[in-house]
C-alpha cells in the first residue's frame, strides 16, 4: 500500500509535467503523453510529420519541462558522423589529443530531420541509442543518464530524404505524428505568445533524477500473464500478416519488448500499478506502425486492423 501511495504522489508530479507540456503543444494531449511515455520507457522517440507542426517544439518542451540538458543537431545531407559524436583534436600547446565532445553528449538530443542525413551519419546514432555510449577513436565514452533521442523526420514523399533503414527504425521505441492542430488549438497558437519565448521563460517541473526515478518505477509496473498472452497474440498476428504480404515485416521480439515497456510507462502515467490491455492498445499503433511498413502513413491503418482483429480474451 505504501508503495502505491508513493506512486500516486508521483502521478501528481507526472501530471504536472504533462500539464506544462500541454501548454506548449496545444490540443495534442495523447501525443504529448506518448512522447513522455517513450521517454519514461527508456526509449527513443521518432516524430514524423510535415515541417512546422511543432515537432521541434515538442522536443524542446520535453527538455525544458523535465529540466534536462539538450542539444540540437540539424541533420543535413552533408552532415558527418563526427559532427554528431565528437572528434579528437590535437592540442598543439599540450602536445596531446583532446576530445572535442559532439552534441550527443547531453541528456536529450534533438535530431532534427534525421532522414535528410546520409545513412552513414544516421547509423552513427545507432550505438548511442542502443547502448548509451559512443566510441571515438577506439575509446568508449559513456553518455549521460538519462539519454533520450527525439528524432524528427519528414514524410518520405518529400524530396531529398534518405529513408531510415529498418534496423534503425526498430531502435525507436515509437513513432508519432502530430498532425495539424484543430481549429481552437490553432487559434490559440496564432493569438498566443510565441512558443520560442514561452520555452525560454518556462521553468522546469522535474529534474533528471525525477526522470530516472520514473523510469525505474515504470519498469516495476506489473505485467500479468494475460497481458503477455495478448502481446504475443499481437506479435503473432503481425507476422502472419507479413507472411501473407500485408505488410513489410512482422514485429521483432525487440518490438515486443518495446511494446511492453511503452505499455508500462503508459500505465504509470495513467496512475496504475498494472498494465491493462487498454494500455497496450493505446500504444500499439505508435509502436508498431513504423516498424510494419516503414512509415506511419502506411503502417497506422495496418496496426489498427490488427488491433481490431486480435481480440483480448
Amino acid at each position: 500500500m505504501a508503495s502505491r501511495k508513493k506512486l500516486h504522489d508521483d502521478d501528481g508530479h507526472v501530471e504536472a509535467v504533462l500539464a506544462q507540456l500541454d501548454t506548449f503543444i496545444v490540443g495534442k494531449p495523447h501525443e504529448t503523453k506518448l512522447a513522455l511515455a517513450a521517454l519514461l520507457a527508456g526509449g527513443h522517440l521518432l516524430v514524423e510529420d510535415l515541417p512546422g507542426v511543432g515537432k521541434t517544439t515538442l522536443a524542446r518542451a520535453l527538455a525544458a519541462t523535465l529540466g534536462l540538458a539538450w542539444n540540437r543537431v540539424q541533420f543535413t545531407s552533408d552532415l558527418l558522423p563526427a559532427d554528431v559524436t565528437g572528434i579528437s583534436i590535437f592540442d598543439v600547446t599540450r602536445q596531446e589529443f583532446r576530445l572535442h565532445k559532439g552534441p550527443i553528449f547531453t541528456s536529450l538530443l534533438l535530431a532534427d530531420e534525421i532522414n535528410r542525413a546520409p545513412p552513414k551519419t544516421q547509423s552513427a546514432l545507432l550505438e548511442a541509442m542502443e547502448e548509451a555510449q559512443v566510441t571515438i577513436d577506439g575509446k568508449r565514452h559513456t553518455l549521460d543518464k538519462p539519454f533520450f533521442v527525439v528524432a524528427t523526420q519528414n514524410p518520405l514523399e518529400q524530396l531529398g530524404v534518405y529513408p531510415l533503414p529498418e534496423s534503425q527504425l526498430d531502435r525507436f521505441i515509437c513513432c508519432i505524428e502530430l498532425g495539424y492542430p484543430h481549429s481552437d488549438a490553432e487559434r490559440s497558437l496564432l493569438t498566443g505568445d510565441s512558443r520560442q519565448q514561452m520555452l525560454h521563460s518556462a521553468g522546469s517541473v522535474a529534474s533528471a533524477d525525477n526522470v530516472l526515478f520514473w523510469q525505474a518505477r515504470a519498469r516495476q509496473i506489473f505485467t500479468a500473464p494475460p497481458i503477455l498472452d495478448y502481446t504475443q497474440a499481437l506479435l503473432a498476428a503481425t507476422r502472419e500478416l507479413a507472411a501473407k504480404g500485408g505488410c513489410a515485416a512482422g514485429l521483432s521480439p525487440r518490438a515486443g519488448l518495446s511494446l511492453l515497456a511503452m505499455s508500462r510507462a503508459w500505465a504509470m502515467i495513467q496512475g496504475r500499478d498494472m498494465v491493462l490491455p487498454e494500455d497496450l492498445q493505446a500504444v500499439f499503433t505508435c509502436v508498431a506502425a513504423h516498424r510494419l511498413a516503414g512509415s506511419l502513413k502506411r503502417g497506422t491503418p495496418i496496426a489498427r486492423d490488427i488491433l481490431t482483429a486480435v481480440d483480448m480474451v
Binding site: 498494465v275 491493462l276 490491455p277 487498454e278 488491433l307 483480448m312
Partner: protein, 682 residues
C-alpha cells in the same frame, strides 16, 4: 467416510510437535472444534433426555461463543464433580449403566466436557475422534435420510477441524480452508460410495435394539381413544407395491392385531390363541375373492405384527440371498401374522391375499369370543331385544348396523370421556365417537346377542404415490369380525355411521374437524405434493441405502461377474479403484489448467453475454474500458455497477494481487455480486 477420518486423526496425534507453544490450540481452531462438537451433538439431542443433553451442549456453547469465552478452561476442581454428576444423572435416568442409551448419553456429556477443557492440539485430535464416533451413534436411533443429512455439516466441520489443527501459520485463511475442505469432500465422495457398496456387512446388526422406544402404531390393547390418537399422526406406517391389481379404496382393509379379549373396558390380544398356527394349505379352500400379490415395506414398529391386505392367503416371505423364498413369520388361527422378533428395522416382505370379507375357520371359536363381562346392562338389554326379533345371525348383524345408521350417531376424533359403563354411555348418551367406539360396541352387541365376534385393528385406506401406496398412521382403523355360518365375516360399523370414512379416507369423514386437528397446510395442494415427493424419496432411501444388505451386495457382485469374492479380493479391488480415482483427479490437472478460463474471465464473459443478448455485444478488439463506457451510455442506471465490475475485472486479471488465488477469488466474487445486481435488462 468417517472411517477415513478416524485413520487420519490417529496419524495426526502421533505427529504432535514437541514445542510447547506449538502444542497449544489456536483460538480459531478451538472455535471450529466447538462448532464441530455442537453439530455432532445436535442430532442426538432428539434422542437423549433433554435435561441431560441441554447442559451437555450448553458448556460447549459457552466456550464457543466469543462473547462468553475467556479463553481459559474449566478448572479440574469443577470438572471432577461435573463428571460425577453427569454419571449419576445418567444412572438415575436410566436405572442402569451398561446398555446402549446410557452409554451414548454419557459419551455425549463427556465429549462436551472434554471440549471445555481442551487447550492442546492433542486434545483437539482426541475430540475429533470422539466426534466421529458420537456422530455414528445417532444411527442407533434413526436411519432416515434426514439423519444422513444431519451428519453432513458435522462431517464437514470434522474435516475443517482437522485442517485447522494442521495449519500452524496464518497464511491459510478461513475461506481457503473451507474451499479446500469442500474440494477434499467432493473428491472423497466416490470413494465413500465405493466403500458403502463393497464393505461386507453384517446380515443383522445387533445394535438396532429399540428397547423402551415409543413408536406410534397399533398396540396390543385398544381402549376408547387409542386409535383416535393414532389418527392425528401423519407418520408412515408402511408402504405397499402391488404386482398387478390395485384394490379400490373400500377394499383396502389392512388386517393387523386381532383383539379377542375384553375386560369390560379395553379390547386386547388374547394370549392363548396366538399359539395355534394356521397352515396356508387350508387357505386354498377359501377360493372366493381375487388373489392379489404385493410387497409390503413396514416401518420399524418394535412389535411382532405384520400387516396384510384383507384375508391373507400366504405366509409373508422375503427373498434370501440364494434366490429362494424364506418365510419370516407365521399365521395363527385368527389369520393374524406375526414374526418371531419384533420389527426393529424396516422390513420388506411379499404377501398374497384374497380380496374377500369372509373366510372359513375350521376351529369354531371358544367361549372367549362371547365374553361380555357383567357391565353395560342397557346394551345387553338392547341386544336381547334385537335377538328376539330374529333367529338369523346375518339379519341380526345387519339390523345392528342399520340401527347405527338410523340413530343419531356422530363420527368425531374428539369424543367425550366415557364412564365405567363405557358402551352404555356411548350407545345411549354421547353417541359421538371414533371407529374404535363403533367397532367395540358392535362386537359387544353381537356377543351379547350370542354371536361370536372380535375386534380387528389395522389400517383402512392408503394413498397412491407413483408406483406404490403409502399407508399412514392416520389411516388406523378398527372394525369387527363375526363368526356366522362357519365363516368369519367382516363388519365395519364405522362405515354404517360415516360411509365416507371407508370411501374417501379419514379426511373426508371428518371434514372441518380434521383441519383443526392436523396441520392445516396439508390441505394445500403444493404442500401435499411436496410431501408425497419427500415420501417417495424416503422410500427410495429405505430401499436403496438402508435396505442395501448382504443380499443386495451379493447380487451386485454377481452382476459384475464375481461370485461372492473373498475379503482379500474386495480389499485389493477397493485399493485399485481408489488408485484409479486418485489418478483421475491428479492427471488432468495440468492439462486442464492450460485451457481453463480463469473465474474472473468467466464472469466477464457472463457480463458480455448478458449485454450481447440485449443487442450490445462487445466488438472484436474493443477494450473492456471502451465497452463498459459504451454500455453505460445506453444503460446509465447501471453505470456505477459496471464501473465496479470493470475495476474488479482489471484487478482480478491484471494486478499483482489478482495473481494470488485469494485476490482473484475476491474479485470474482464481487463481479458475480455486481453482475447479479444488474438484474434483468430492459
Amino acid at each position: 467416510m468417517s472411517e477415513n477420518i478416524d485413520i487420519v486423526t490417529i496419524d495426526l496425534a502421533e505427529k504432535e510437535p514437541s514445542v510447547l507453544r506449538k502444542e497449544r490450540l489456536r483460538r480459531d481452531t478451538r472455535r471450529i472444534l466447538g462448532i464441530t462438537v455442537l453439530l455432532t451433538q445436535l442430532p442426538l439431542m432428539f434422542h437423549l433426555p433433554l435435561w441431560l443433553s441441554i447442559p451437555g451442549m450448553f458448556l460447549v456453547l459457552w466456550k464457543t461463543v466469543p462473547t462468553f469465552d475467556n479463553g481459559r478452561t474449566i478448572s479440574p476442581l469443577y470438572m471432577t464433580p461435573l463428571v460425577i454428576v453427569a454419571a449419576l444423572g445418567t444412572l438415575w435416568h436410566y436405572g442402569h449403566f451398561f446398555s446402549r442409551d446410557p452409554c451414548v448419553t454419557f459419551l455425549f456429556l463427556l465429549t462436551g466436557f472434554k471440549f471445555s477443557e481442551s487447550t492442546r492440539k492433542y486434545d483437539g485430535s482426541l475430540l475429533i475422534v470422539l466426534c466421529a464416533f458420537l456422530l455414528l451413534t445417532q444411527f442407533f436411533y434413526w436411519q432416515s435420510m434426514l439423519a444422513a443429512f444431519f451428519t453432513l455439516p458435522a462431517l464437514f466441520f470434522i474435516g475443517l477441524s482437522l485442517f485447522s489443527l494442521q495449519r500452524d501459520t496464518s497464511t491459510v485463511n478461513t475461506r481457503q480452508m473451507v474451499h479446500l475442505t469442500s474440494k477434499l469432500f467432493v473428491q472423497a465422495m466416490p470413494i465413500a460410495v465405493l466403500l458403502f457398496l463393497a464393505i461386507p456387512r453384517l446380515s443383522a446388526p445387533g445394535w438396532g435394539d429399540g428397547s423402551g422406544k415409543a413408536v406410534t402404531g397399533l398396540s396390543s390393547r385398544m381402549s376408547p381413544g387409542s386409535v383416535a390418537e393414532l389418527s392425528k399422526s401423519n407418520e408412515v406406517a408402511f408402504r405397499v407395491e402391488f404386482d398387478s391389481y390395485t384394490p379400490l379404496p373400500p377394499e383396502r382393509y389392512w388386517r393387523g392385531p386381532v383383539l379377542n379379549g375384553f375386560d369390560g373396558f379395553d379390547w386386547f390380544i388374547q394370549p392363548g390363541i396366538t399359539t395355534n398356527t394356521f397352515s396356508t394349505t387350508s387357505a386354498a379352500t377359501d377360493a372366493s375373492g381375487q388373489l392379489i400379490n404385493y410387497t409390503v415395506t413396514m416401518e420399524p414398529t418394535y412389535n411382532p405384527w405384520l400387516l396384510a391386505l384383507d384375508t391373507p392367503a400366504s405366509m409373508p416371505t422375503i427373498q434370501s440371498a440364494d434366490g429362494s423364498r424364506k418365510s419370516i413369520g407365521r399365521m395363527d388361527s385368527q389369520r393374524q401374522l406375526t414374526t418371531a422378533d419384533n420389527l426393529r428395522r424396516a422390513t420388506r416382505y411379499q404377501m398374497s391375499s384374497r380380496l374377500t370379507d369372509r373366510f372359513r375357520s375350521d376351529t369354531p371359536p371358544g367361549a372367549d369370543s362371547l365374553f361380555t363381562g357383567s357391565t353395560n346392562s342397557r346394551t345387553r338389554a338392547l341386544a336381547m331385544k334385537m335377538r328376539s326379533e330374529t333367529d338369523n345371525d346375518t339379519v341380526l348383524a345387519n339390523r345392528i348396523l342399520r340401527w347405527f345408521n338410523e340413530e343419531n350417531f356422530y363420527y368425531t376424533l374428539n369424543p367425550p370421556t366415557l364412564g365405567a359403563h363405557s358402551i352404555d354411555d356411548f350407545l345411549f348418551s354421547s353417541r359421538s365417537g371414533f371407529c374404535e367406539h363403533y367397532a367395540g360396541s358392535f362386537v359387544f352387541l353381537l356377543r351379547a346377542a350370542g354371536i361370536p365376534a372380535r375386534v380387528v385393528t389395522g389400517y383402512q385406506g392408503g394413498e397412491q404415490n407413483g408406483d406404490y401406496m403409502i399407508v399412514r398412521q392416520s389411516d388406523a382403523h378398527a372394525w369387527a369380525e363375526a363368526y356366522i355360518e362357519g365363516q368369519w365375516q367382516r363388519f365395519d360399523p364405522t362405515a354404517a355411521v360415516a360411509p365416507q370414512r371407508v370411501e374417501g379416507g379419514i379426511n373426508a369423514a371428518l371434514g372441518d374437524e380434521r383441519q383443526s386437528l392436523l396441520q392445516k397446510p396439508l390441505e394445500w395442494h403444493w404442500v401435499k405434493s411436496a410431501g408425497l415427493q419427500w415420501d417417495s424419496l424416503n422410500y427410495a432411501w429405505q430401499r436403496m441405502v438402508i435396505g442395501f444388505d448382504d443380499k443386495s451386495q451379493d447380487n451386485l457382485w454377481k452382476k459384475i461377474g464375481l461370485d461372492s469374492p473373498s475379503g482379500w479380493l474386495i480389499a485389493v479391488l477397493l485399493v485399485l479403484a481408489a488408485c484409479v480415482w486418485i489418478l483421475i483427479i491428479l492427471l488432468p490437472t495440468s492439462l486442464r489448467d492450460q485451457t481453463r478460463v480463469s473465474p474472473c474471465e468467466q464472469q466477464w464473459h457472463r457480463l458480455c453475454k448478458k449485454f450481447a443478448a440485449n443487442g450490445c455485444a462487445r466488438q472484436s478488439g474493443e477494450s473492456a474500458t471502451d465497452y463498459v463506457e459504451r454500455l453505460s451510455l445506453r444503460w446509465p442506471q447501471h453505470r456505477r455497477k459496471l464501473l465496479r465490475i470493470l475495476a474488479c475485472y482489471h484487478s482480478g486479471l491484471f494486478s499483482r494481487q489478482g495473481q494470488q488465488p485469494q485476490g482473484h477469488q475476491d474479485s470474482t466474487e464481487e463481479m458475480k455480486r455486481e453482475i447479479s445486481l444488474i438484474g434483468k435488462l430492459s
